[in-house]
């Protein structure tokens, strides 16, 4: 019996590949499996090969599998393009309709199934995906009923008849496989634990996190892979009186978000590389005016328009060093969808606590891959609006006098007021200014204000690095973002082989967790930094932020996330 397997469905874009994968994944998630789904898509809307690869496991595995156990093919291209991933003895289920040809020279179990024909018999050709799901269930030793609750949730509002015909299609596929040797003992999947968990992508978790954090305005401009965040909130904000505004460009998006935050409402924007570049000047304005703002950067393949639908982690320099001059900046880098939720809430709290821009950086794999998430905890939602001027403070201000919005204080953080508050009038400007916001070029004030701003954020943030593995490892692997699952998996294999390895994963890029990382680096014989970019940004950041030691690099920038085997093989060579 298997405790994990990988399954893929492929066809032409616009053919329902997504929904097929979605139903398969969601149904298994409901049965207490851990699921990870990664969509392969290109920058075409219709036509062109697309596939959805799903990993099902009895324990958390937020990573693509090295190979494939089962492939559902709606066309020949799917077979030609993906069969090489199949392990020996893997299963192909191909629609009889296109007269499929088995891949040459491979030992696979090849089933030609009348997917379309059965679907038509059940009521409509579009149900061929249901037939395929039934066929898959048979191979995996699952019952057709595995899909029943989901099918009913999906289609009951269209009537019981629709539910029944979909279930009938599933049963036809199941029955056909049963009669044609599709019950394969070694493909049996161990049962899931039945626990109810969530299945969501990073972008959804960010949207929900923003909602929970009390964000109520989101100006944004569409871009892959960030758009889902705004699309999520477009559905949700009307319920809480909030609003998503689709702006004319990213400059408008961030400046509007700054305006809203200035006026006292938590606002965010979300973008990807090109949009982030456009926002840079405004990020400086937020830093200079000490206005909180949350920016989500879902990294994709760069530079320039690069590879819009491909994975990369190459905006780290940009988020840390982008914008001219010097401002305080907080950069959070969640690694899982669950962390996307909680850290988005943190982002808003930090933004208001420190009155700075906070950038939450993800990567395409984290943004768009769907993964099993433990139920999110309402009681862990906290809202902390930071230092706000009290009514007494404001009442003490004489009419006509200005509020010291940029007052020098012990912790360098000054109380905020919102327009509309009596007594709080002050001036906000991106020009260097005095405590009340008046422009100044006075050298002493300038120096003091720079120090005030840059020293607001001090020390390391909690949980900025996670650590697992050997205490004094022969090899320490350091990563950021979505690579968490692949690194863990590779190291698990090495540990099982008796190797001494460990994994440090960075969650906060600014303030950079130098001290903590240094501690881990010092204990390790060798250090490998694994990242998805061509120049080793994380490695260079470690050096830039003064971590002493020698660092090896593993880089991948072909647009695809790592496979566990790639990291495993590289590590194996090093120890």
């Amino acid at each position: 019996m298997l405790d994990q397997l990988s399954w893929k469905v492929g066809g032409q874009q616009g053919e329902g590949i997504d929904s097929t994968g979605e139903i398969f994944a969601t149904a298994l998630n409901r049965h207490g499996y851990f699921v990870y789904g990664y969509r392969h898509f290109s920058s075409r809307i219709k036509g062109g090969h697309t596939n959805y690869k799903i990993r099902v496991s009895t324990k958390p595995r937020p990573a693509n599998a090295d190979n494939l156990d089962m492939l559902i093919a709606f066309d020949q291209e799917t077979i030609d393009f993906n069969a090489h991933e199949l392990r020996p003895g893997g299963v192909i289920i191909a629609d009889e309709k296109f007269n499929p040809v088995a891949p040459e020279g491979m030992t696979v179990r090849f089933f030609t199934v009348p997917l379309t024909k059965f679907a038509e018999e059940a009521g409509s050709a579009i149900m061929k995906n249901m037939v395929a799901l039934g066929a898959s269930a048979c191979v995996l030793g699952l019952q057709p009923e595995t899909f029943e609750s989901l099918i009913s949730d999906m289609f009951l509002r269209k009537g019981q008849k629709v539910v029944d015909s979909n279930m009938a299609a599933i049963r036809k596929g199941f029955q056909f496989m049963k009669e044609n040797g599709g019950e394969i003992a070694e493909f049996r999947l161990k049962p899931g634990d039945g626990k109810q968990r969530l299945f969501m992508m990073g972008n959804d978790a960010i949207g929900l996190g923003a909602l929970a954090a009390g964000a109520r305005i989101m100006p944004a401009y569409p871009i892959t892979p960030a758009s889902d965040v705004m699309e999520y909130l477009i559905k949700k904000f009307p319920k809480v009186g909030g609003h998503v505004i689709q702006t004319e460009d990213e400059i408008a998006a961030i400046t509007m978000a700054i305006g809203a935050n200035y006026a006292g409402v938590r606002a965010l924007t979300a973008t990807s590389g090109p949009g982030l570049s456009l926002m840079m000047e405004a990020i400086g304005l937020a830093g200079m005016t000490e206005t909180p703002v949350v920016i989500i950067d879902t990294q994709r393949g760069g530079p320039s328009t690069g590879m819009p639908t491909k994975h990369e982690q190459s905006d780290m320099y940009a988020v840390l060093f982008g914008t001219h001059g010097e401002i305080p900046k907080i950069v959070l880098a969640p690694a899982t969808a669950e962390e996307c939720f909680y850290m988005t809430i943190d982002a808003f709290n930090y933004a208001e606590k420190y009155q700075t821009p906070v950038i939450l950086i993800t990567d395409l794999a984290l943004s768009l891959a769907k993964q099993t998430v433990e139920p999110l905890d309402y009681d862990r939602i906290t809202i902390n609006r930071g230092k706000l001027a009290t009514e007494e403070q404001l009442a003490a201000i004489e009419p006509g006098k200005l509020f010291k919005r940029y007052a020098f204080t012990e912790d360098n953080i000054s109380p905020r007021v919102f327009p509309g508050q009596k007594g709080g009038i002050h001036h906000v400007t991106g020009v260097e200014h005095t405590e009340v916001g008046r422009p100044t070029e006075d050298a002493a004030i300038r120096t003091k204000m720079m120090n005030k701003r840059l020293n607001k954020v001090r020390g390391e943030f909690p949980n900025s690095v996670s650590y697992t593995g050997a205490e004094n490892p022969d090899l320490l692997v350091i990563g950021v973002g979505s690579t968490i699952g692949v690194i863990d998996e590779a190291l698990e294999r090495l540990t099982a082989e008796g190797k001494s390895v460990a994994h440090a994963h960075v969650r906060v890029l600014s303030p950079f967790p130098t001290e903590t990382l240094q501690k881990y680096v010092d204990r390790a014989k060798k250090v490998l930094v694994v990242e998805n970019n061509a120049t080793g940004q994380l490695k260079h950041l470690m050096q830039f932020f003064d971590i002493k030691g020698e660092f090896l690099s593993q880089l991948k920038y072909d647009g695809n996330p790592y496979l566990p085997s790639e990291i495993y093989a590289h590590c194996k060579e090093l120890i």
Binding site: G241, P419, G430
Partner: protein
């Protein structure tokens, strides 16, 4: 009730003596007092340029933002607190050069914001380069052989983009200007008041005298009908964009009143905690 004095502060503007922007500042202060606004309920969001400094010269809330983005910041402020009187202000370079995109979309969106442009047909702060409103043939620092581009006519662009409130003033006619700004502030929607505000230091062509000789004041034309869009466009073309007064006005529901689920109570005053029930409902979608 607040008076003009309440909108004044201690800052001496760093504008050149004689700059047209002084009168615009005074007109805004008078208009705010006339409309019964209180300083704490006003937010003036300005761009960058000599004119962009205006937010610092009026006693009210204000943001001196970045070049060309005053309107975007202003719209964010308005969304957060619809009870505020939001005024965006800046120069012709700020608004129709770097910020033109935002201008067109602000028109389209129609939030309740008053936009005041101090149009001196030149870039003042950067010391006299040609601006988008400089005339064809205009000779200047960046166009020593004469401007080979054609000028953009703000009123024509605004009307063409579908604006619902359009006025134009001249900084020396402070009474008319005050009245126009007042009406713009009271108008529930996006209102542009483009103001000819001469730069006495760098623009030697479009001087006070030049404007006086060329401007057509619509107040003197009892037959002019500011509710007729076609007539308004004809007048702009006929006067080469040099007409002052209320050019066009029509009623239109403001953006804020069309947002699904938006409440009358400003967002900034609303409780932001997400209810346990709604949270649970949100999670269901991912089960």
């Amino acid at each position: 009730m607040a008076t003009v004095k309440d909108f004044r502060n201690e800052v001496r503007p760093n504008w050149c003596p004689g700059c047209g922007d002084f009168s615009v500042q005074a007109a805004i202060q008078r208009a705010l007092a006339n409309t019964g606004r209180e300083p704490e309920n006003v937010a003036i969001i300005s761009g960058i340029g000599c004119s962009g400094r205006i937010s610092g010269y009026i006693h009210s809330y204000g943001v001196h933002a970045i070049h060309g983005r005053a309107l975007a910041v202003a719209q964010g402020v308005k969304l957060a607190n619809r009870d505020l009187t939001v005024i965006a202000a800046g120069g012709d370079g700020d608004g129709f050069g770097i910020g033109l995109n935002h201008f067109m979309h602000a028109v389209r969106r129609n939030m309740d914001i008053t936009y005041i442009v101090m149009d001196n047909q030149i870039y003042g702060l950067t010391k006299g380069q040609t601006s988008p409103t400089s005339a064809h043939g205009f000779k200047n620092k960046t166009t020593p052989e004469g401007n080979i581009e054609h000028a953009l006519t703000p009123t024509q662009v605004a009307l063409g983009a579908g604006i619902s409130f359009l006025a134009q003033g001249f900084s020396t006619d402070i009474n008319q200007l005050t009245r126009l700004i007042e009406e713009a502030i009271n108008y529930k929607g996006f209102a542009l008041v483009n103001v000819f505000s001469p730069c006495v230091t760098f623009n030697k062509v479009n001087t006070y005298d030049w404007y006086k000789q060329n401007i057509v004041n619509l107040d003197n034309d009892p037959d002019y009908d500011p509710t007729n869009r076609a007539a308004a466009m004809a007048k702009i073309v006929e006067t080469n964009g040099l007409c002052t007064g209320l050019i066009f006005k029509e009623e239109r529901v403001a953006y804020e009143d069309l947002i699904p689920g938006y409440k009358k109570e400003p967002l900034v005053h609303q409780d932001i905690t997400l209810s346990r029930e709604l949270f649970a409902e949100c999670l269901k979608e991912f089960a």
